[in-house]
């Protein structure tokens, strides 16, 4: 199976070139791919039918934290889904080839479409939880590309993003849920999890797991309140809608729940949540569907309704419900796919999908008409079609619900009335009645476009008449796959007169009644309100959420990233003050034990000098020269302090560097004028506060750190090793050039790069004269800076004397 999927992916990636090769025929060739995999899956039927399951596993990542295997698990359920995907996929490839034959993006369609097919197969076949998620995300991704296929239009882009975000967040929830499940059981293979349901159900995290998984499933399968993305996704070209949004992808949620039903299912919360949401969805969307006139919208909502039905059935969790479920999935895939294809064909040939603008096409497009009729009948659940069996089963299982069967059955019946009406609408309106003028002159669709729907429709009739064709070897294993234990049943068209049959009749009658008054009903106020409330409102909510997020983002950015460097610095400083200061005070506490004895008077003089010049610097903010002079004085006095403490080289360097810096600053001052503007009082006092606080913090930190004696073992080693081993008398120099030579090397690099930097800054210039260039170039490196400033300084003298 891995090979199969890999093959699909591989071919998908080369599709653009391939279809470049064989132009129109591309579709026909590519269709062989899903067809072959369909046949491959069919070849498994005998084994599966006898209750066997197949597991194939390839190690992907295997370490003590990850057990991610590309494991595949084929049982009835996944087989059925696989067949649906590949089977319908085959037709879709053909259909798409015809539908988009004049579209320049056709190769890209084929590519993404195949990619999607592969990932969808992966979802249903994968065994390992993580790999399921991998394929799950891939479907979201590919569907994003497919929905946005007509990317020139704003609408389809929006829809694509909508689908991606909604399903994406669901997918992430699913991931979390799966990981939790894995932690709970310690197993990552579904096939093993299936036997560990009790552990999960009794686990502390059961509810979170359930909620997260449901989040994934509901978003993917467009359950209320996430149903809104599916109708908007109809912006996609019809083949996509037919494939993703009716037959396959939207069923992924159903699949995952069906798959995990043995693990998570048949508990109180499960019944309430899954069943309940399913019920709501099916009721709501059924009636929404007939509030639209666009065929695709109608079909979309009816799809949502079917999904709701499936969810409800899963929720019920009875054996009968399982049978109903699998049958329903199967038949729905067939008739809904067919109907979508027909709708697309009509749209393609007649130029519109609005049932009000269509009529009497049956003479023009006979084949489509017949197909549509059969499919619609199946959708309406009318014998002898397969849909009928499904509906019967649905009613039966609804009837036998423990608790309140009345609720379930009534809801089911009411909803199905609407569906009957809907199916009537999508067939009668376009094909019968008097012909109306359509944008294009309508004619029968090409072979590639009707073959798929025709086959599907015919199949649903055949299976309806002879259900045993499929039930033994497909339905039963599938149902038992969901049920988690082998079960046995057979389907038949006719059970004699019983309650479900009566209900069907009622439904049919009601449906026809509804159809009769459709035009009136559609425009009636309650319907409008209903539509706004359930179709438009969720979209609004979604949009408001996104916009709200954007608004918040904008606000936050305006506040934080406001371009004022002083604000940035203040923020940083305050953060540092809080972070460091709080930790310091709360964790360590201030330790003060300095002794101010033995400070000679001349040292006091130095201290006073430093403070005075600091005062000068702060006081003379308006005269930069004074500030620089003050800074120079501070530097000189620091040098003296170093000197007094026996750091000769240090003092030397300090003097040199300080003076050079001052000179450089002055050189810049010459060219850069004084800035007059100053800050207002508030920000000044804010700055003052921050400054004083940080200075205080530094002082206290130093006092506390120096309160304990320092272990000078390294310096002692240096002292002993300096002359005997390193042959240097000046220990500081020895440290610089020998013990810590790498530092010095870095230092040199920094200096030279700074030289290059200054050079580039000044030389790469379109303004500024050559003279100040030469000055600034050299000011990068200390030595030359000295020389230069000397000459620059002595220029007037040279002239003067």
């Amino acid at each position: 199976m891995l090979i199969m999927i890999a093959l699909i992916f591989g071919v998908a990636l080369v599709t653009p070139w391939l279809s470049g090769l064989l132009k129109e025929k591309a579709g026909w060739v590519l269709a062989l791919l899903p067809l072959s995999s369909f046949i491959y899956l069919v070849s498994w039927i005998p084994e599966i039918a006898t209750g066997g399951t197949v597991t194939q596993s390839t190690v992907w990542v295997s370490m003590d934290y990850f057990e991610v295997n590309l494991a595949f698990y084929l049982d009835g359920l996944s087989l059925m889904f696989g067949l649906i995907i590949t089977g319908i996929g085959t037709f879709i490839v053909l259909y798409g080839n015809g539908y988009l034959h004049d579209n320049i993006y056709l190769p890209r369609f084929h590519c993404t479409n195949l990619l999607f097919m592969g990932s969808m197969l992966g979802v249903v076949l994968a065994d390992n939880l993580i790999s399921i998620f991998v394929f799950w995300e891939l479907t979201s991704f590919t569907s994003y590309l497919l929905i946005g296929f007509n990317h020139e239009q704003e609408a389809s882009r929006k829809a694509a993003l909508q689908a991606l975000l909604v399903t994406g967040i669901g997918g992430l929830a699913l991931l979390a849920g799966m990981i939790l499940m894995g932690f709970a059981t310690g197993h990552w293979e579904v096939s093993t999890l299936l036997n560990e349901g009790d552990i999960v159900r009794n686990h502390l995290h059961y509810l979170p797991i359930l909620l997260l998984v449901l989040g994934g499933a509901f978003t993917k399968s467009a359950q209320f309140p996430f149903h809104f993305w599916l109708p908007s996704a109809m912006a996609a070209p019809t083949p996509v809608s037919a494939y993703l949004h009716s037959a396959t992808m939207v069923k992924a949620g159903v699949y995952i729940l069906a798959r995990l039903h043995p693990v998570l299912g048949s508990t109180e919360p499960w019944l309430i949540l899954v069943g309940g949401f399913g019920l709501v969805t099916l009721l709501m969307s059924a009636w929404l569907s007939i509030s639209f006139t666009d065929m695709k919208q109608i079909l979309a909502y009816s799809t949502v309704m079917s999904l709701g039905t499936m969810m409800m059935l899963i929720g019920l969790g009875t054996g009968l419900a399982m049978q109903a479920l699998v049958v329903y999935i199967f038949t729905h895939a067939m008739y809904k796919g067919a109907l979508f294809m027909v709708a697309g064909a009509i749209d393609h040939e007649a130029g519109t999908r609005d049932v009000l603008k269509l009529g009497g096409l049956w003479s023009l497009m006979p084949i489509s008409a017949v197909t549509a009729i059969i499919a619609a009948l199946s959708m309406a659940g009318i014998p002898p079609l397969y849909g009928f069996i499904a509906k019967e089963l649905l009613y039966e299982s609804a009837l036998e619900v423990a608790g309140w069967p009345v609720l379930f059955i009534s809801v089911a019946v009411i909803a199905n009335m609407a569906i009957v009406a809907a199916s009537a609408i999508v067939v009668i309106r376009p094909f019968f009645g008097k012909q109306v003028k359509t944008p294009h002159k309508a004619h029968e669709a090409p072979f590639s476009m009707w073959i798929g729907s025709a086959v599907l429709a015919v199949l649903s009739m055949i299976f309806g008449i002879w259900p045993f064709l499929v039930d033994k070897n497909l339905m039963v294993p599938a149902a038992s796959g969901v049920w988690g234990a082998p079960m046995n049943f057979y389907l038949s068209l006719w059970h004699g007169i019983n309650l479900p049959l009566i209900l069907s009749v009622v439904t049919l009658a009601g449906g026809i009644l509804v159809y009769w008054h459709w035009d009136y009903l559609r425009d009636s106020i309650p319907m409008r309100v209903y539509q706004t409330g359930f179709a438009k409102f969720p979209v609004k909510v979604y949009e408001n959420l996104v916009n709200g997020m954007l608004g918040l983002a904008g606000w936050q950015t305006r506040v934080l990233q406001n371009g004022l460097i002083s604000n940035y610095l203040v923020t940083i400083l305050i953060a540092a003050l809080i972070g460091i200061g709080y930790t310091f005070v709360s964790r360590s506490g201030v330790i003060l034990n300095p002794d101010f004895t033995e400070i000679y008077f001349y040292e006091w003089a130095l201290v006073i000098a430093i403070f005075t010049s600091l005062g000068i610097i702060l006081a003379f903010g308006h005269s930069r020269l004074t500030m620089v002079i003050g800074a120079g004085v501070v530097g000189f006095n620091l040098a003296l302090i170093y000197l007094i403490h026996g750091a000769a080289d240090l003092a030397m360097t300090q003097v040199m560097v300080e003076t050079l810096t001052v000179i450089l600053v002055v050189l810049v001052l010459i060219h850069v004028p004084q800035l007059q503007a100053t800050r207002n009082l508030i920000s000044q006092s804010r700055d003052a506060f921050v400054a004083v606080a940080s200075g205080l913090l530094m002082t206290l930190l130093i006092y506390t750190a120096t309160s304990t004696p320092l272990d000078m073992f390294i310096s002692e080693f240096y002292a002993e090793a300096s002359y005997p081993l390193a042959h240097g008398r000046n220990i500081v120099n020895v440290i610089l050039v020998d013990f810590r030579a790498l530092d010095t090397m870095g230092e040199v690099v920094v200096m030279s790069v700074a030289g290059i930097a200054v050079y580039a800054l000044i030389k790469m210039t379109r303004t500024g004269s050559a003279k100040n260039r030469s000055e600034k170039i050299n000011s990068g490196k200390p030595g030359s800076a000295k020389k230069k400033s000397a000459t620059s300084g002595s220029t007037p003298k040279g002239k003067a004397l």
């Binding site: 882009r157 929830a173 090793a721």
Partner: protein, 503 residues
């Protein structure tokens, strides 16, 4: 003792000098630049082999045994960082051949690039905290000038903020080093790791940890300290912002990981909780900032911030899995992020702007570029089966495994928002219709490969995209080495023993 350890520092210096000599012969200079990168890559590969085979490698410079001399230490983390930086260096060097103009080349672009790499490698390799300060300064000064090189208004505006704030941060760093020295009397990190636990005043050590958190935090652009990054990273030529966005901030992250696993493990309950909070805020603010902008590179810059949050989160978990996730995330993020920057460069060459609102039609005319973008963007958003997925997976797993549900939820949601702003770029620049006016006349006509030599820019992008996919599909080896690195980090005694010899 492994002499190879000096090569990643020495080779760039050598290349830089050579390139400086030939700075007026741009073609020679280019090839020197590329060749130097290849040499570095090879030396790193050799080193990697040694570390992988026989554990942590150590070089005592000048044969002064630790802690008296300066020690170069190569453990798995350093090796991974070195490797990725070498790869990025090579990619950028090739990309620059087309992207960097003559004038910049003449003013020492390639030498500076190599000096930058030298600083980065030095800080990855050094085992001495003060030496790390020196290397930080080296890479800082190189980055300063690379940022300002060209003297356009925007560059200078960005550079001033970047320079001032980073100068301040390195001064804080220096003060932190001084504090460390004064409470332990040592500078060698392994020796510090031995001595710090013996300090009576644990609170003081925690305070020092905070100082380092601030200092490195500014460099790594974490939550309240990141402002300089979105203000500057989108101003220089694309090649430069690519290597900045990819590599530089990660140096800060590396320093954080190193110090907070090796040195400051006394009061984990306190420090790492703070880290966790910071991580959360960083993720959210960054991604929101990205959501609110419509300039290609500004969006990417904000995303850098938000993804730093993920790495910090992994560090804050302080579990094997978390650290592994963090390291893997760093590697993957460097690739994806730089690649997006490079793509933005190509897009700008084609459409003539970085403003999303004025871009469009790239998907129509340059599908291959679109594919490359999709790969990088969805890797960034953590989509399977790309490299980002494994990072996200391991981080989420790590979070859930220690029941840190809130932060994990935040991380997941931020991932979704990342996806959102990536699609924002995609939908306007690629899917969007071609704008009526303001499109250069060569748009749509100039092929990616062929006349126009655009392929020099495309090939590196392809290479990285290939790496991303490769890592995604064959994640096992990289995950394993990341795990080894995490194990080494969580068990400092190995490191200490390798440096100081058996105690």
């Amino acid at each position: 003792m492994n002499g190879l350890l000096i090569l990643p520092i020495a080779l760039p210096l050598l290349t830089a000098t050579l390139a400086l000599i030939f700075r007026n012969y741009s073609s020679i200079q280019r090839w020197i630049g590329v060749a130097g990168m290849v040499a570095i890559l090879m030396s790193v590969a050799a080193l990697f082999r040694d570390v992988y085979v026989d554990g942590i490698q150590v070089l005592q410079l000048g044969n002064w045994e630790a802690p008296f001399g300066i020690t170069l230490v190569g453990d798995m983390l350093s090796m991974l960082m070195l490797g990725i930086s070498a790869i990025m260096g090579l990619i950028i060097a090739v990309y620059s051949i087309y992207d960097i103009d003559k004038e910049r080349e003449q003013f020492g672009y390639y030498p500076l690039l190599h000096i930058l790499l030298m600083g980065v490698n030095g800080s990855f390799l050094t085992g001495d905290i003060f030496n790390m300060y020196v290397w930080f300064e080296v890479l800082l000064v190189a980055s300063f000038i690379l940022l300002a090189l060209g003297n356009s208004k925007n560059q200078l505006q960005g550079a001033l903020k970047y320079v001032i704030i980073n100068l301040f941060s390195s001064l804080i760093f220096l003060f932190g080093v001084a504090m460390l020295y004064s409470i332990t009397g040592s500078l060698n990190m392994a020796d510090l790791a031995l001595r710090l636990p013996e300090v009576e005043n644990v609170g003081l050590v925690t305070t020092v940890a905070m100082i380092f958190l601030i200092a490195f935090g500014i460099k790594a652009a974490i939550f309240p300290l990141f402002f300089w990054l979105p203000a500057s990273y989108h101003t220089p030529p694309v090649a430069i912002s690519a290597i900045f966005g990819g590599l530089l901030t990660k140096v800060g992250v590396y320093a954080l990981i190193r110090t907070f696993t090796l040195l400051f493990t006394q009061d984990v309950g306190y420090t790492h909780t703070i880290l966790l909070w910071i991580a959360g805020f960083t993720m959210v603010t960054g991604v929101l900032g990205a959501a609110s902008h419509y300039e290609f590179r500004k969006i990417l810059s904000f995303h850098i911030v938000s993804q730093i949050g993920y790495m910090i989160m992994g560090l804050a978990f302080n579990t094997k899995l978390g650290l592994m996730g963090a390291i893997f995330y760093v590697l993957h993020n460097i690739l994806a992020k730089s690649n997006l920057f490079l793509i933005s460069g190509i897009a700008q060459r084609l459409t003539g702007t970085f403003e999303l609102k004025q871009m469009g039609g790239l998907y129509k005319h340059y599908p291959f570029l679109a594919v490359l973008f999709l790969i990088s963007a969805f890797a960034l958003a953590g989509f399977p089966p790309l490299s980002g997925f494994w990072a996200k997976l391991s981080l989420v797993k790590a979070g859930l495994s220690i029941e840190a549900y809130v932060i994990t939820a935040v991380a997941i949601l931020v991932g979704l928002l990342t996806l959102f702003s990536m699609t924002k770029i995609w939908m306007s620049a690629f899917w969007g219709p071609v704008p009526e006016k303001g499109v250069p006349d060569h748009f749509g006509k100039m092929p990616l490969f062929g006349p126009g030599n655009l392929y020099i820019m495309v090939l590196p992008v392809m290479a990285i995209a290939g790496l991303i996919i490769l890592i995604g599909l064959v994640a096992q080896p990289l995950l394993e080495v990341c795990l080894i690195a995490a194990e080494q980090l969580l068990n400092p005694s190995v490191y200490i023993e390798a440096v100081l010899g058996a105690q």
